[in-house]
């Protein structure tokens, strides 16, 4: 088990890419290791034939444990267990691509090109035939013909047996990521004394500045949050076992939705050193890599505070669950234009239309109290409403 990232002590063998008897080249991926929610390719440390898989898929082992044995005295060039002895046919790029797109086994396609080459025309013709077959497929047999079919209750009755309801349940079960999210969330609810406090913020300034800088509101809120955390340090903290640790640096976690696959919280290390523009760049990069599955274990470790941003979908309020072992998570909701009472030029009350956003802070009552949480939110509100 290689060291995955600087601080992982163990990892789960997610998938073997080679089986005993297979030839593996130096640095060719031999298996996938899962740490937290990240899957990482493990390159083979040597070339040779896989002799034995020591750790089965799904098992979690410590760094340094033996995963597999590779016979390095085996000779390359001998066929792999997974290789066929027949000389491989070669396919043009377009044929290979179309076969992949339509799930065609090219070995079964007879070629009409030179020396039996499979040509694009052959694939096109095959697809056309398949489509024809699909169209010509007999429609459900008329009731009178099949004895096994349920007979009508009455010869003129319009009754026909309903098709069986489609089975909704998936046989695949929950993905590894879904399971990990579930465990983390449940553990947080059982561990922390979570309270959520909300504040309404006038986003007029945020909207103006973000338009000028050509970015979303997220980096601006993140920047103001980091500045506010510098004042209310008890929120930029973690529980290490039973010990409460405050951090000077803000390693800011940003929740990134991966659609149905789940979500992941990559970290911007030392985010206190970055401007809003710098944060915007990093957020973009992390989100892109998260969606492409290119995050490394270190990208999701050591966060000290988290921002989640579901407001982009229009919701106005939430009670986020704290990302353990942190003690606070800030929730940004949708910016909605609302009539609000503001002070006019002569000190009188007037109703104005303002873009309002509700920021929610879930915090751990073990680490701090309501006064600090509310003061933090007030500080954040003041900073966002006076952005220049």
């Amino acid at each position: 088990m290689p060291q995955m990232g600087v601080s992982a002590a163990e990892g789960t063998l997610a998938e073997w890419r080679k089986q005993p008897g297979d030839w593996v080249a130096y640095e060719e991926t031999i298996c996938l290791i899962s740490t937290d929610k990240i899957d990482t390719d493990v390159p083979s440390p040597a070339a040779g034939r896989v002799a034995e898989l020591v750790v089965p898929e799904g098992e979690t082992v410590e760094v340094g444990a033996v995963l597999a044995r590779i016979a390095t005295d085996a000779r390359p060039g001998e066929p792999h267990a997974s290789e066929r002895v027949v000389a491989p046919r070669r396919y043009s790029p377009v044929v290979a691509r179309m076969a992949a797109e339509h799930g065609i086994d090219l070995e079964r396609v007879a070629g009409t090109g030179r020396d039996g080459r499979v040509r694009k025309q052959d694939i096109v013709a095959l697809l056309a035939r398949e489509q024809e077959t699909a169209q010509d497929a007999p429609s459900p047999a008329p009731v009178e013909q099949g004895e096994s079919e349920e007979p009508p209750l009455h010869i003129e009755s319009p009754y026909r047996a309903d098709d069986p309801a489609p089975v909704v349940a998936s046989t695949e079960g929950l993905s590894r990521m879904r399971r990990a999210i579930g465990e983390h969330m449940k553990r947080s609810q059982e561990t922390a004394a979570t309270v959520t406090t909300w504040i309404e913020v006038d986003f007029s300034r945020v909207e103006t500045v973000r338009r000028r800088l050509g970015m979303t509101a997220l980096p601006l809120v993140a920047r103001a949050t980091i500045e506010s955390l510098a004042i209310f340090g008890s929120l930029n903290a973690t529980w290490d076992g039973d010990t409460f640790v405050r951090h000077d640096a803000v390693h800011m976690g940003i929740a990134v939705s991966l659609g149905e696959d789940g979500l992941i919280v990559p970290i911007i290390r030392d985010s206190q050193d970055l401007s809003a523009e710098g944060l915007a760049k990093r957020i973009k990069d992390l989100a892109r890599r998260a969606r492409k599955g290119e995050l490394t274990p270190d990208d999701v470790r050591d966060g000290t505070f988290t921002i989640t941003n579901p407001g982009q979908f229009g919701s106005v309020m939430a009670t986020p669950i704290i990302h353990q072992p942190q003690v606070g998570i800030l929730d940004i909701e949708a910016v909605v234009k609302r009539p609000v009472v503001v002070t006019g030029p002569d000190g009188e009350d007037v109703i104005a239309i303002r873009p309002i956003c509700i920021l929610g802070l879930s915090w751990d009552h073990r680490a701090l109290d309501g006064a600090q949480a509310a003061s933090f939110l007030a500080e954040l509100k003041q900073r966002l409403e006076s952005l220049v």
Partner: protein, 321 residues
């Protein structure tokens, strides 16, 4: 619309633009009193007078250099090389001066150079060349090559109006052989490729005289549906049109009358290999003139220039591949 030869269309385009725009004038060897070696400017001296139709000494460097100066001063000169082959004497003025002035000093060089090019009529090694690739390689120059009378006129007008130096390759073998409908008045043909014939099984890419060879060679190929793309502009190349056609047919044959190495066709082949790889169902093939001077002997010339038979054979091989 009037029916014109390719040569008459060039003449017509030049005359139309000279009538419309006083800044346009022509220079070249024997283009005034004699009306040009191929009679493109026949009658121009009488109509436009000696200040706009200038006979020059036999000095291509001087012709191009003068034109560059006139363009910088705000005029729109059109230079005639008597034969494209002679442009090598004006090479430095084109490659080192005309092509770079805009980059160095921000000065547009609105020069058009007409290059009667190509072989196929026993002109020998000094009167048959296709030097377009020399200039495609030089930054700052545009290169166009019409294949029909309609495009010959439209591309010439577009070249004269383009603010960059444009090398206009007019194919001598098309001059009086090719006739077609030509719209009246001024019009510009865009520097974009044209589908000369639509098809689905193979794309043949060509320009200039080779468009006609490609069309004839693939007219009747056992019922195969062959698309012929006329590039029209070599620099810039109409990359999207080329790629769109190849992506449709998955097979490409490039026909190029120039010597094979580093020719326009080589650039087209490279583009396809680079950007249409996933759509290819066969190797990108080229039919071009081998790297030899064009022989004077008619049978030898016929042996080196891409012929209808050679193109047909290559097309057949690709179709069967």
């Amino acid at each position: 619309m009037a029916t014109m030869t390719y040569l008459q269309a060039i003449s017509d385009g030049l005359r139309t633009e000279m009538r419309a725009d006083e800044r346009v004038f022509v220079m070249g060897e024997d283009i005034g009193v004699f009306g040009g070696a191929f009679k493109v400017t026949d009658g121009f001296l009488d109509e436009f007078g000696p200040t706009r139709v200038m006979d020059t000494p036999l000095a291509e460097s001087g012709i191009v250099g003068t034109a560059v100066g006139a363009a910088v001063a705000g005029l729109r000169p059109v230079c005639e090389m008597q034969f494209a082959d002679f442009v090598s004497c004006g090479f430095d003025q084109l490659v080192n001066v005309a092509g770079k002035l805009y980059y160095r000093q921000g000065l547009p060089v609105n020069v058009t150079v007409r290059l009667p090019s190509g072989g196929g009529f026993g002109g020998g090694p000094f009167h048959s060349q296709n030097p377009e690739a020399w200039f495609m390689h030089a930054p700052g120059l545009k290169v166009v090559a019409p294949s029909t009378p309609e495009d010959a006129k439209g591309l010439l007008i577009a070249s004269i109006r383009d603010r960059n130096p444009v090398l206009y390759m007019e194919h001598k073998h098309l001059y009086r052989r090719i006739k077609g409908e030509v719209p009246e008045g001024a019009y510009e043909t865009p520097f974009r490729a044209r589908v000369a014939r639509e098809g689905t099984d193979l794309t043949v890419l060509a320009y200039g005289a080779m468009v006609h060879v490609a069309l004839e060679a693939t007219e009747d190929l056992d019922g195969a549906s062959v698309e012929v793309v006329d590039l029209r502009s070599l620099k810039p190349l109409d990359e999207e049109a080329i790629l769109a056609s190849v992506r449709k047919t998955s097979k490409a044959l490039v026909v190029d009358e120039a010597n094979r190495t580093c020719a326009a066709g080589a650039e087209v082949a490279a583009l396809i290999a680079e950007r249409a790889f996933e759509d290819l169902d066969g190797p990108v093939r080229r039919v071009a003139t081998p790297d030899v001077p064009i022989p004077f002997s008619p049978p030898l010339e016929a042996a080196v220039l891409p012929s209808v038979e050679r193109v047909r054979e290559a097309a057949r091989e690709l179709l069967e591949y």
